[in-house]
């Protein structure tokens, strides 16, 4: 894990007290779904993103919500896809596969369902049967019943549902607090990199709000932690040290 702010939160690999009680690692996972020894309780994420996630990965059986579809969703899926997971993308016709591939997703393991239509819950449930990771943009209003049913499917299948939009029961919520592209001048240059401040909070062990500065994508196309001290622009309102944002909000 490459947290830039040491000591501000527990290392994700440390046996947190809540860990054994998290649903996907619950006492009795559904029989017949035992995975091989190589599969842990979380799907891997890119090293730079580990610090944002309470267990350094996407906990299987959980819902991760990102406020709006964008590169962040794709970056979250990248490492798992590179690791061999299939990624279903439902309801997001504008998903940029090229950018996804640049971030590390394996385009050969992507299933696109651009328009799941009114029966989208069944479509997502079917996708969850086959793919470990499903990226979904639900329609505006999702009834609680549909939500719970999908979550139940999710826990049975040990997948991860990555929602681009609002999902009230999400275990983890990610937001892009700010983003700035570099490289564009006044009539010259081109987009090179984006520096973004990502905030994560959620429920349970993710309840602590974490904020990280990331290069997403960086100059080399990858994702890297950004050091608030040497951003190519000014963060005027707070001294860089205070931008750690990893504020412990509970005792």
């Amino acid at each position: 894990m490459t947290a830039g702010q040491p000591g501000s939160f527990a290392a994700p690999n440390a046996p947190a007290p809540g860990k054994t009680e998290f649903p996907s690692a619950g006492p009795a996972p559904a029989p017949g779904l035992a995975q091989g020894p190589g599969t842990g309780s979380a799907l891997p994420v890119l090293p730079a993103l580990r610090g944002l996630l309470p267990r350094g990965g996407l906990a299987r059986g959980s819902v991760v919500a990102v406020a709006e579809f964008g590169l962040l969703c794709l970056a979250l899926a990248a490492a798992a896809s590179a690791d061999g997971a299939w990624c279903g993308i439902a309801g997001i016709p504008e998903a940029g596969v090229l950018a996804a591939a640049a971030l590390g997703l394996d385009a050969g393991r992507i299933l696109l369902v651009p328009d799941p239509g009114p029966s989208w819950p069944q479509v997502v449930a079917s996708l969850l049967d086959g793919c470990e990771l499903v990226l979904l943009r639900p329609p505006a209003r999702v009834s609680a019943q549909v939500r719970h049913r999908l979550e139940a499917t999710l826990r049975r299948g040990r997948g991860v549902l990555l929602v681009a939009g609002d999902w009230p029961g999400a275990q983890l919520r990610l937001r892009v607090a700010s983003q700035r592209w570099t490289g564009l001048g006044d009539g010259h240059g081109r987009l090179r990199a984006c520096c973004a401040e990502i905030t994560a909070d959620g429920r349970g062990e993710a309840a602590m709000t974490r904020t990280h500065w990331l290069w997403l994508p960086g100059e080399d196309g990858g994702v890297a932690m950004a050091d608030p001290a040497d951003l190519p622009f000014d963060i005027d309102e707070e001294p860089p040290g205070a931008a750690s944002g990893l504020r412990v909000v509970s005792g």
């Binding site: 009680e21 998290f22 009795a28 990102v66 406020a67 709006e68 579809f69 590169l71 962040l72 504008e94 940029g96 596969v97 090229l98 950018a99 591939a101 640049a102 385009a107 050969g108 299933l111 369902v113 799941p116 239509g117 029966s119 479509v123 049967d129 086959g130 793919c131 719970h148 826990r155 681009a164 275990q171 937001r175 892009v176 607090a177 700010s178 983003q179 700035r180 592209w181 570099t182 490289g183 564009l184 006044d186 009539g187 010259h188 081109r190 090179r192 984006c194 905030t199 429920r203 349970g204 993710a206 709000t209 994508p217 196309g221 622009f233 309102e237 944002g245 504020r247 909000v249 509970s250």
Partner: protein, 611 residues
Amino acid sequence: MVVTCPDLHSADLSADPDRDTARRHERVIAAVTGFCPDVEVVEPGVCAFGARGPARYFGGETALTARITAALADLGEDGKIGVADGFFAALLAARDGRAVPPGGAARFLAAQPVSVLAGRNPAARNPAAQDLVALLNRLGLRTLGDFAALPVRDVASRFGDAGEGAHRLARGLDSRPLATRPPPADLSVVQEFDPPEPRGEPVVFAAKALAGRLHDGLAARGLTCVRVQVTATWADGRESSRRWRHDGLLSAAAVADRVRWQLDGGAPAPPDDGAPQASPGDGEQYQPGGIVALRLVPDQVVRATGQQLALWGETLVSDRVARAAMRVQAMLGHEAVLRPVLGGGRNVHDQVTPIPFGEKTEPRLPADRPWPGRVRGTAPGLVFPAAREAEVTDDAGRAVTVSGRCAVSAAPARLAVRGEPPQRVTGWAGPWPLSERWWDPSAARRRARFQLATEDGRAWLAVLQDGRWLVEAGYWLGGLGQPAALLAGAAAPDVLGDRGRGSSRRGPSRRAAGQITPSRVAAGRDSAMGRTALPLLVQLPGRGGHSRRAGRGGGPARSRGTRPHRPRRDVRGAAVRAGGCPARRPGRHEAGHGVRRRADPRPARQPGSAA
């Protein structure tokens, strides 16, 4: 006897993407095979067979010719038939549709020009034969008769093997006997249901045995099929037909699964028939609209060479994924599940080719070309399927234009994408001109691309084409979730520079986060997530809203104690509740909120016991 179909003969099969011509050709061959089983397919649209036997059976060559012509006319094909001694003469006779009497081949051929030796189909012309024809013409040998009159030995010494072969043809001697093919066996299998089967389950069950027969039939011949076509026919004549990828990988049970999905996907049009997944309760009674026949047809039969799975490096679709994808395809249609293939191209839309799941994945444009003129650098995270209209204006509010010499009229200052509030442009680059396919008026386009960064931190790929601004792609990471409140309050320029209001924007977001979290902590974070998530799942369908409303502390111990039974109830509970809801609802109202299902039977039972 030679049968030709001029339409099919001149068609170039390789340039036929739909395989339509190939299918027509196959139908013609099948029709001809009905008259004589041993047919040699010479080339597309031409087939030959020995006429003596069939002609005697059908009452003479003329009668046979008439019958075959009629059969072809039924298929909508215009066939011509020639009869002669030997294949070459018959082929020439078929041009005019005439029958050369027995023994008359040499005389018939003598009148033909030597150019027939080169073949008629320009695509299939043999260059050696063409040279020979040109040479014979220069030597003054205009007809085959002239050529045939030359002594064999002189022809062989002067023109070599090719010349000798041609000389044999000219004399009416065939160069080789016909190589006929046995008729292909019908590998499809059918199961008929009498009386019609209204329920889906028996059909699926029969499909499993049927698929076993199909596989046995294929395996006995050392064959496998690329796809299998499943056709279900209903009593009222409706038919549902769909092709499923097979590749020799599916077991009988897997084929039966496809049948189930296809039937689940819905019977065509009027839904009044025994819906395939009708409830098992209405078992024996006969419904008029059941399924009468289920047919499995192997499509694209190929030799079974076995499957070698890749050890490394090749992305294989696992059975699990294929199953999921096909189930979605059964719901939404074949084109609804796509696999993206990265390719080349100059525009963001061209660089990814979506291909329906199960088909061969090949990019539309090859990736290994230089593609000068494409936008380089970071790829956009959002590529809008249809470009969004936009307006780009300068400081004075005039639309920004680009001249023929690629000069921008003014620096872009505002970007208004349709459907979103206008944004101030904080950085821009371009124009990058692109003039594509100018030689093809229907596909030609000239466009200038720009990258624009706006004050909300996002960036856009905008295109000016035919005087209109279009936004093709977007570069951003995500959003705050409450764009109305936070982004609107952030009239702050994000990109490069103006630093005034950044804090006012970032402030609220952090404060909001800070507000949310303590409240959640107060609700009991320690026990909240870890323990209650599971009971929440387990109790949900059976107990209505109880666990959600009653807070999170209560459930865990009990639910864990009864854990082994719960998941099953979870699955069944939803159906039970859905079915029994109307009956139960009054009871719930009487008893107030939070009545458990377990408590429901009691009011019913108590009156019973009292009486």
